[in-house]
Symmetry: none
Subunit: 214 residues, 4 copies
DNA sequence: CATGAATGAGCCTTCATTCAT
DNA sequence: AATGAATGAAGGCTCATTCAT
């Protein structure tokens, strides 16, 4: 972004190659993301991407080994963002409100990118990609599981729940929240948050948390 | 129809034409299902399917108008089965146990078919198919919503929940239960059932139901 | 048609095979003619023909070696009919009226069969067929040439015409008369006849012929 | 456009891209014309055309949308040339000689292209093409009809002829003149011209025209 | 003899990738 | 570095012909 801002004079006549180069690569990256999301990976041609990015096919292959590598690069950058938001369950603040806020924040950008639609198509086709996603998901679930375990140790959760199952359920709900929009439904983040909290906390604990927070 | 039902022994050596024909169509159907599930729709060629079914390409086109029609036929047959199981929430029996049983029953067959993996890829590509699925899903959600409304009218649910959100969450969990297996996890149906029940019933109600049932 | 009308009793239970066989062959022949005319040779499938004739594909290949042989059989039967009508120029009757009548008679059936449309498509594809047609055409032209030569020897034609060219022109006009109908025009046979006669006879001869006839 | 027009020598070894591209498109065009003419449209494969033009199938589709578009392009370019030559009947010069010259000129190039053989096959299969040809033909006939009407108004034609029929006959003869060569006959343009003139002019008028011209 | 299911060569077309300019 | 023309493997689908029943 701010490369060579200090020496504008010097390189005025020729825009630095590296910058132009990065612009092109970025354009291809963006175009790939948009088109893959819109039309799916298979139905997006390299020509589509190059045209959309305003570069030649030859340039496409200069910056990315092949179509699949562009996909992997995109996934790699988006994978964290794609993942449901990590919630800090252990700060003992009003968990419902906190969760609702995070959900709101997260999905408003994710949905507009439309990229989440791409993953399902790919998972069954690309073993490597499947692993990338699985790894990211596992990392997330581990993280959530640890938090829930801590909560339980503090005696704040239902006593008879299987935390593994709970964390899986929560992640799943969050993961597919995007589909609700696709299906034409609007999302009530507070209601989702309420439900999730009820899976975790018994009513008395929940009441206490909410009171102490307010 | 009435083909020699009386003399099964007699015509054993020669399989009747219609039967063989049905076998072939069924083989193509099965092969389509398996290959679509394994490799995705686009990456399964008509040749693949024909080979897998042990017939020629020409035969494929004798039994199915084209590749897409095979897909639609498969979807059509599986769509009900794909849908999460409808649970009768209103019979006032122990809901946790009941739900767990139904889940067990349903997913053991569904998962082995592996077919559920196919849907996501298709939804964004085939408007007609998207509608078929959406319609089936809506029907299911309506059904569930009605049951939940009845439960609430009977004063058995949390008072402050949005039933629409609850039903969506439940359906979503059930819908993606299959993935848990893919991801290598084993499913504890009782735990899932427990969580779902907690979304719906307040603890006191739940306790009462379980006692009265036992 | 009237085969075995005399012995209805005898062959009542089993329609003689040869008759049924001939019926089938004839049906295929007819269907071939109709469909080839309507859709062209290439775009008519053997299945089309068999269905239209109400027989199975297998039967098709029982009665005709292959699709091409059916075509050749049809052409062979129709080729004389396809050819422009042979006119007797030498009987010294009113040639205009005579020709007009013959044209009328000939084309009314030919056009309705629609078969003439088929020839052009085939000529460039099938050397053997091309020869069949060429031979028939040459025979016709020879015939016409001989008549014209006789007429000239009798001093009835223009003295300075090349009879070969005249006969070619006449045959060509007659050959493509069918197209005029296709193009939406109605045919005035008398006018065509008048033109043709003027190519052959000088006005004074023509007048004499018409007078003597009337 | 302005590519080094000044230094033709300099860039001799490297054929400019656009020129090579045009060469290729032209080669495909030519090959299409030749092969369509020789084997008919349906029996010419895209591979045939590409091979004959010395390019790959992929290149075919770079230059032409599909096989049919190549055909349409060819027709479009040839349609005027395919049409029988327009003759100016009204300039009161020796019409026989004039017509003979024009015919000679026209058919010597048209016949060598062999393309005229293609039209009949297509007309019954391609509605759009049929219209293109019909329109061109109608335009021609209208033109000829107008000229003949003017001639008649000047009292130069037979009084009792139907001009519509005459113009149709003339166009038809001219249209199929090419076939005469195919059939092995040589064309005597003067004889054809003579016949046509006799269809139009009564002998006395014709004599006068020829004298006045000479 | 009749049937029509089965076969597979071959067609048109697409698109990822290469490479001469 | 940039371009985009060129390539050809591969896919969906058709249909003449064969052959088991």
């Amino acid at each position: 972004m701010n490369e060579q801002q200090n020496s504008l004079i010097k390189n005025f006549p020729t825009v630095p190659k590296q910058v132009r180069s990065q612009h092109k690569k970025h354009a291809l990256f963006e175009s790939g993301q948009i088109l893959f999301s819109e039309k799916g990976y298979d139905h997006t041609t390299t020509k589509d991407i190059a045209s959309h990015a305003g570069v030649s096919i030859g340039s496409f292959y200069r910056y990315f080994e092949d179509k699949r590598q562009l996909l992997l690069a995109i996934i790699d950058e988006r994978i964290e963002q794609m993942m449901p938001p990590v919630v800090n369950w252990t700060d003992h603040r009003d968990p419902e409100e906190d969760l609702a806020n995070r959900l709101q924040q997260h999905y408003s950008t994710l949905i507009s990118s439309g990229f989440y639609k791409l993953l399902p198509e790919l998972i069954s086709k690309d073993r490597e990609l499947e692993n990338i996603i699985r790894v990211a998901k596992n990392r997330l679930q581990d993280h959530m599981l640890k938090q829930l375990e801590q909560l339980r140790d503090e005696g704040m959760t239902w006593e008879d729940i299987d935390l593994d199952t709970v964390s899986w359920c929560i992640i799943n709900l969050l993961e597919h929240l995007t589909e609700k929009v696709e299906e034409g439904g609007s999302i009530h983040y507070e209601e989702i948050a309420k439900l999730i909290c009820r899976m975790i906390y018994p009513p008395d604990i929940l009441n206490k948390l909410e009171e102490s927070d307010g």
